[in-house]
Symmetry: C3
Subunit: 238 residues, 3 copies
């Protein structure tokens, strides 16, 4: 994977040069040649969080270019499918179903067949201590109001989805954090930022996720995420 392939295809951007030369200049010089090449996150990670922002935001028109780039940046087809499946739960089924239709076309065009898209191995084991703490929180907050939502959260979301092996726990956290920032859902961001760091995301990477997303979901959502990140980092003694 070369640095040149890290950034999305620039053809759509060149196409807009005549109409929006300033936007084209920002896209080329700032976004592709600067942000996407910064070493704080790998191109693969940037593709994961960009795809998550696109799925969460329903930006189907921008997906084909970024799906191709994600594959070029080393995201495996099954990881793309797993990312979209994960976001069915975090951004809702309609966002996921629209995204999977786009992915299907991209896979077809690249000759990616079903044999590359079937997860095989057994679910990950449960981290008993962390899981007990998480269950206790759900018991206190969700269960008194919506007991069946608490049950689905325990049995399906954390008991099944998060244990699938087609994405690593660290990548699931990355995808979840990106979707929460994209949706402006700061309520759940502290929990998932902590979980992401428990799963291996460093402080510098967390900062870079927010910085990258400023360009993909807008400065306001990123700025709100900074506020949450600060309380998380402070509590972790960073």
């Amino acid at each position: 994977m070369s640095a040149v392939r890290a950034a999305p295809d620039t053809r759509p951007a060149q196409d807009i040069e005549a109409v929006a030369p300033q936007l084209q200049a920002y896209t080329q010089n700032l976004l592709f040649e600067d942000v996407w090449r910064r070493p704080e996150l790998s191109p693969r990670d940037r593709s994961l969080i960009t795809m998550s922002a696109l799925v969460a935001g329903g930006h189907t028109a921008q997906m084909p270019g970024h799906l191709n780039r994600a594959l070029d940046n080393g995201v495996k087809p099954i990881e793309i499918t797993a990312l979209i499946t994960h976001l069915a739960f975090y951004s809702g089924w309609p966002s996921a179903m629209s995204a999977i239709s786009v992915a299907k076309e991209v896979f077809k065009a690249r000759g990616i067949g079903p044999e590359q898209l079937h997860p095989a191995s057994d679910p990950l084991p449960v981290d008993a201590a962390n899981e007990a703490k998480r269950r206790a929180a759900i018991e206190q907050t969700v269960n008194p109001v919506a007991p069946d939502l608490a049950r689905y959260t325990n049995d399906v979301l954390f008991g099944d989805l998060w244990r699938q092996t087609d994405l690593t726990a660290r990548d699931r956290s990355l995808v979840t954090v990106a979707a929460l920032i994209a949706e402006g859902q700061t309520d759940q961001l502290a929990f998932h930022l902590n979980r992401a760091m428990d799963n291996g995301l460093t402080q510098a990477q967390a900062a870079e996720v927010i910085t990258h997303l400023a360009f993909y979901v807008g400065w306001p959502r990123a700025t709100s995420a900074v506020t949450v990140a600060r309380t998380v980092l402070d509590a972790r003694g960073h």
Copy 2:
């Protein structure tokens, strides 16, 4: 109306089996065969809140299937039109205009003509006590900043839209609550959840609205709604 018809058409889902077998399995076994068949809400209610989530989220690609299923689940054509018209005010005109274009095609394909789409009867009478309380709140909060918005709120939104008979007050509340949860607008959720329960929504149904929407707008929005619901239920002494 049979239980079999309660869930959306599964053909688009089967279509994605080759690309996303895990998402397809969740869609079939969890969403259609479990969630949609739960007795806490009727298939008709589930169609109303699913449609509201789709309109509020701008998910036009997912609308034809759910519009057809809504009609199969007993939602009348005029109620679909009324739902979209209602959401022009709660999700904005662009969302409503895009949705009505999709509805138009679905109606045409099913041979539903204008004679089924004209409301006829007089507006509902005003509940004077509740209305006075609501006006007083607007007077205090909106009027000092944006007096014309206060006027439109009183005269058009509550004085006209909510009194239309093409949706019952209870269904309008259901649609409004679903849209607020879909938009992540927790500020107004307590007021409308209370109003929904005043209009006949039970505590178990309110919990199930949130549980159903977890799948259609994502877990984070649903979890934020649980927090608001808890304060509402506590204040009502549930």
Copy 3:
């Protein structure tokens, strides 16, 4: 520019009359003949904030009509390009890229060529006192968590984008405020509402921005904006 041209083209609305007569009546009598004609904001300002709401909300299907109306209402082609470029930073690149594709088609259909779309003059000078205050705030809030985001905010967002002359500072504020309200991003609204009023937006115009947007992004987002506006107005001694 005549009052008759202030409102969007009514043809799409007439097209929906058979399906949604009540929505059509609201669109014609309330939105076009009442709201769009209110003197508190010019048709040009209404087009700017409507376009901002459409870009921020990803409502590409509704853009051609409103882009044409914006041009009819006196928004220059280069201002439309500048608005979309500005919102790349405030709503994210995917929203801007989708919008610019629509704008390109509308420009082509009206024979608007590249010679009308190139900004020429030097960047605006910096207001040193305000800029120092803004930088100090970023230094305190963003820099400890995400130093590169702070740097981009200072050097690119405020040091470059806001100084471009293809939109006035007042119009950039109008566009930013509209996008924040559309996105439900109340965290940053106080800062930008203050900045808008520093840039010349009157109290009555600020109220009318919110009132107009109630129809384009829905009542809930507008109501949340009212709460923020009240604290801003109080602090400014209005």
